[in-house]
């Protein structure tokens, strides 16, 4: 079995774009705020949101397991073209109905919001169809297979007035938020360089006993469906760097290759890029699949210090000439390769959950969840109710999407690719 040809989708999208444009012109922005077009109802805090998920493979189920825990959200439908994935989804959302055709799912008038976790080349098509069917959309990262598709998603969300959130969950991670606050306050001085890695020692290939199913299961390895390591791993980290710097890259150079896993894959098994930002910051990115020593982290370097961010830990290293911080003596510290690191404590930063005062309590001594994926999904459903903007919007995610695609272009062409600021405009 193979997946649909993406070229056909692009044409479809273009045709639909025209249709969306005219529909929006006729109806105006009928669904501003918390009015849900599909059901014609306004959601209040106590109303149950009926939700659905399209794509219940590994990532879809990862989301679903977290989303079913959110109070007043009920998953009523799951969709996947693979029988085993669908069964897995239905084993998590036990009250949901299963679909193989996502159009049938979108036809249901009682569904308010849809999570999309399908292969990259399907993101735009499914997001646009869901928005046009009046559903709020949470779409997994990377946002879209192409820059045009990503912009189209933003336009349709704008026209329909519905929530569009992209799954860059690190923006919701309390440690990352804490670091963002400190960086905004100037703790690193003038930022000049960033370095990020996501290095693994594994093939990235899922076992597939039936060769006919290979493209379906290993879609990440084929260019028709995938933008490779830059999209699947890099876009998370580029998004963080864009956020911390509050700007997007203006040029990129890079080298990639299929040098270790020569197993018929079409996407690079190792990528190295340098992004240039308008402020002069250089961001060096690496993702390799044959050595995991460096692991996954982002290192932001300024003339007064360095912040190293990774899931579960954020460290601050001060430069020798930087002045003493008021709280430096009290901070928890540890030695990392002979250097003193200040452990950044996220509990000093108000959590998203607490900001919105969920009204629920936790007994003393019991840990509150800090899982960024739970936090991003909670924020999505809050935005659906309140008509608010999520932290990771289509607009913010476009920055990472453009940068990843342009990096692939630079590696393919073996040239420095400039990214004019207009590319980010929608």
């Amino acid at each position: 079995m193979s997946l649909d040809n993406p070229k056909r989708h692009t044409k479809d999208v273009t045709r639909r774009e025209f249709l969306v444009g005219s529909a929006a012109a006729l109806t105006g922005l009928a669904s501003i705020g918390v009015f849900t077009e599909a059901t014609g109802k306004t959601l209040s805090k106590e109303d149950v949101i009926n939700a659905a998920i399209i794509g219940t493979g590994n990532q879809g189920c990862f989301l679903l397991e977290r989303a079913v825990k959110i109070p007043n959200v009920r998953f009523v439908a799951c969709c996947d073209i693979q029988e085993s994935n669908l069964a897995r989804g239905l084993s998590i959302a036990k009250e949901a109905k299963g679909y193989k055709d996502y159009y049938q799912l979108l036809e249901r008038k009682d569904i308010d919001a849809v999570l999309i976790a399908t292969p990259l080349h399907l993101h735009a098509r499914m997001t646009v169809d869901a928005l046009r069917a009046g559903k709020h959309v949470f779409c997994e990262k990377m946002m879209a297979y192409s820059i045009d598709e990503a912009k189209h998603m933003i336009r349709v969300a704008r026209q329909t007035g519905l929530t569009l959130q992209i799954g860059h969950q690190r923006r919701y991670d309390p440690d990352y938020q804490h670091a963002y606050k400190l960086i905004s306050d100037g703790i690193l001085g003038r930022i000049t360089h960033v370095r990020a890695h996501w290095n693994r020692n594994a093939s990235w290939r899922r076992p597939c006993p039936d060769p006919k199913l290979d493209e379906l299961i290993n879609w990440r390895l084929y260019r028709r469906y995938s933008q490779g390591l830059m999209a699947e791993l890099g876009s998370h980290q580029i998004d963080i760097v864009n956020w911390m710097l509050q700007e997007t890259p203006s040029a990129v150079v890079g080298v990639g290759g299929i040098d270790y896993w020569k197993d018929g894959r079409e996407v690079y098994d190792n990528v190295q890029c340098i992004f240039e930002y308008p402020s002069g910051v250089k961001f060096q990115y690496q993702s390799i699949t044959s050595n995991q020593y460096d692991g996954c982290y982002e290192q932001i370097m300024g003339d007064k210090g360095t912040i190293v961010l990774q899931i579960g830990k954020a460290l601050l290293f001060r430069e020798p000439k930087s002045e003493q911080l008021a709280w430096q003596d009290m901070a928890h510290k540890e030695k990392v390769q002979g250097k003193e690191a200040i452990v950044l404590d996220a509990s000093k930063t108000p959590r998203i959950q607490e900001q919105r005062g969920e009204g629920e309590r936790v007994s003393p001594g019991q840990a509150r969840t800090r899982d960024a994926v739970v936090l991003e999904l909670e924020d999505f459903f809050r935005c659906v109710r309140e008509g608010a903007q999520p932290l990771s919007t289509g607009k913010t995610a476009l920055g990472a999407c453009v940068a990843a695609i342009k990096a692939n272009e630079a590696m393919d062409r073996m040239e420095r690719v400039t990214i004019p600021s207009e590319v980010y405009k929608v």
């Binding site: 397991e65 825990k69 998590i92 076992p207 629920e360 840990a367 960024a372 739970v374």
Partner: protein, 315 residues
């Protein structure tokens, strides 16, 4: 437990660290490249389970349950529901000797140990009052969990590794590999099929003092062996003062007549849980249990006048 089978053959042999121990997968398959992908998929599953089951990770699914399930019903993943359901069934079957609600007691002793002291008697009494799987309500229609006693904490330390071995073995079998071994450190090992030469896999039970010596060799085929107790399992940095296994009925470190207890059965998760129950319950309980559960065998190690004595129960 000694994972070097006596008649060890050429096979893919990979080790990764999860759940604070070394998981090892040995696969005998003609296509080594395929076997490697399958092993990667099995390790990925173990990693996924680790992130769900670790009660010391505030971002884990179990921590979410511990934080919220006494406030409201929490819908959990099929895997977490399955392991909780299995744990509760084993709680009933062992008359409460095996109990995953021992989390608060484990924390209490961990904190005391860091201060090199013992918890005060009142704190222990209070913990006993909120430690029982009776306070755990599971609804299979919705895969939901409720904790009806505030302060109860679930800790899957005595069953999670065995469950992970079970899932890894299932994945390996689903991908058509029928010959291999999966183990979680010195805790649980499962043998898929016989060895390539048709003979059962042979696993040694280590001598408690001499790491290179074996007290016994167990033959395994489509069967799991799990061991609790014994000095090799003691993490001396944290548990130098107390036995690391907490007796849920008293909420105190185990005081047992045994050096170690091993359980043999077809399901690695059950073997893992039962080895703890046998270690805590001692010889009399283990004999009773094996008598009423034909499929289960136990190997108990006792120390008598400086000598180690093996006792084989059931089978």
């Amino acid at each position: 437990m000694d994972m070097r089978p006596a008649n060890y053959c050429d096979a893919l042999d990979m080790t990764r660290e999860f759940m604070a121990c070394k998981f090892r997968i040995i696969l005998a398959n003609a296509n080594e490249y395929y076997a490697r992908q399958v092993a990667e998929a099995a390790f990925e599953e173990i990693s996924r389970l680790e992130k769900k089951f670790n009660c010391f990770d505030p971002t884990s699914e179990l921590s979410y349950v511990n934080a919220w399930a006494h406030v409201r019903e929490v819908i959990v993943s099929p895997e977490l529901f399955e392991i909780l359901q299995l744990a509760k069934a084993l709680f009933e079957e062992t008359g409460g000797i095996f109990d995953v609600t021992v989390g608060a007691a484990v924390n209490l002793w961990r904190s005391a140990e860091k201060l090199r002291s013992v918890p005060d008697a009142r704190a222990i009494r209070e913990t006993v009052a909120r430690t029982s799987s009776h306070f755990l309500e599971l609804d299979s229609a919705r895969n939901s969990v409720r904790i009806i006693r505030e302060g109860l904490l679930i800790n899957l330390g005595a069953i999670g590794k065995g469950y992970a071995v079970r899932r890894a073995a299932q994945i390996i079998a689903e991908y058509g590999i029928s010959c291999g071994l999966v183990s979680s450190g010195d805790s649980t090992v499962y043998a898929l099929g016989p060895q390539p030469d048709g003979r059962p896999w042979q696993i040694g039970i280590r001598h408690p003092q001499q790491a290179d010596d074996r007290l016994a060799v167990v033959e395994l085929q489509e069967r799991a062996l799990s061991t609790s107790g014994g000095p090799r399992q003691r993490d001396t940095s944290v548990y130098e003062l107390y036995d690391h296994i907490i007796d849920p009925s008293k909420c105190e470190p185990a005081r047992t007549e045994l050096v170690s207890a091993s359980a043999l059965t077809s399901d690695p998760a059950i073997a893992d849980a039962l080895s703890t129950a046998f270690y805590l319950g001692g010889k009399a309980f283990t004999s009773r249990y094996c008598l009423s559960h034909e499929e289960v065998e136990a190997i108990l190690v006792e120390e008598q006048a400086g000598e180690y004595k093996l006792c084989h129960v059931g089978g």
